[in-house]
Symmetry: C2
Subunit: 93 residues, 2 copies
DNA sequence: TAAAATAGTTTATATTATAAACTATTTTAT
DNA sequence: ATAAAATAGTTTATAATATAAACTATTTTA
């Protein structure tokens, strides 16, 4: 009935990040920041957590002279997201 | 796109409690404890929070000689739950 | 009548989310 | 040329949260 909800995904900001990333090939830090309305600090921390869990991959590069952080969801992340959504349905019908 | 998720409902145990209560007239402490698998302490705290928010009503009485805590969802609680579910859909499609 | 069970509450702890403060660099304005 | 502001983040401090352990009070059972 009430399956455990992956605590890494049961967080407003991290869920928003994953929700964004599941629909695109990749997205940049600034883009995610704008879409989610998160502060840079909070976003940085949450991206790290998702990255450490293997749910997203994070690549740092340069666009001209500016640093760019590019994120994409991994296969593991997609599976975790799908399982989370499935578990959630046990709660919200 | 990403509406704020009511932090009172965005909690595994409180969401499970609300999910249970939305389907019934009322439910007793022990019943909720069994269905959710929560410890009594945790359940007590979370019921208090939902009660203080006006999402549920809690009535204490006796069944024979044993104390009984009976909970039911309020109109306010139903609305909050529905809004939460609606907001959540912006995240999980 | 001592031990265990029932029905909870209170309190302490560990985790978490979050923003404030910070670093490093680049662009713009004077 | 250089001071001020903007960009792109990271690190750290704090406040909120979830959770279980410890506790109270009563009743049932051995």
């Amino acid at each position: 009935m009430f399956k455990d909800l992956d605590p890494l995904l049961h967080s407003q900001l991290r869920l928003a990040i994953m929700s964004l990333l599941i629909g695109v090939d990749s997205a940049e830090f600034v883009f995610i920041k704008e879409k989610t309305g998160a502060t840079a600090g909070n976003l940085s921390v949450q991206l790290d957590k998702l990255s450490n869990a293997g749910y997203i991959s994070v690549i740092k590069s340069f666009k001209g002279k500016k640093p760019v952080t590019t994120c994409s969801i991994t296969r593991v992340g997609i599976k975790a997201f799908e399982e989370y959504v499935d578990s959630l349905k046990g709660y919200i019908g």
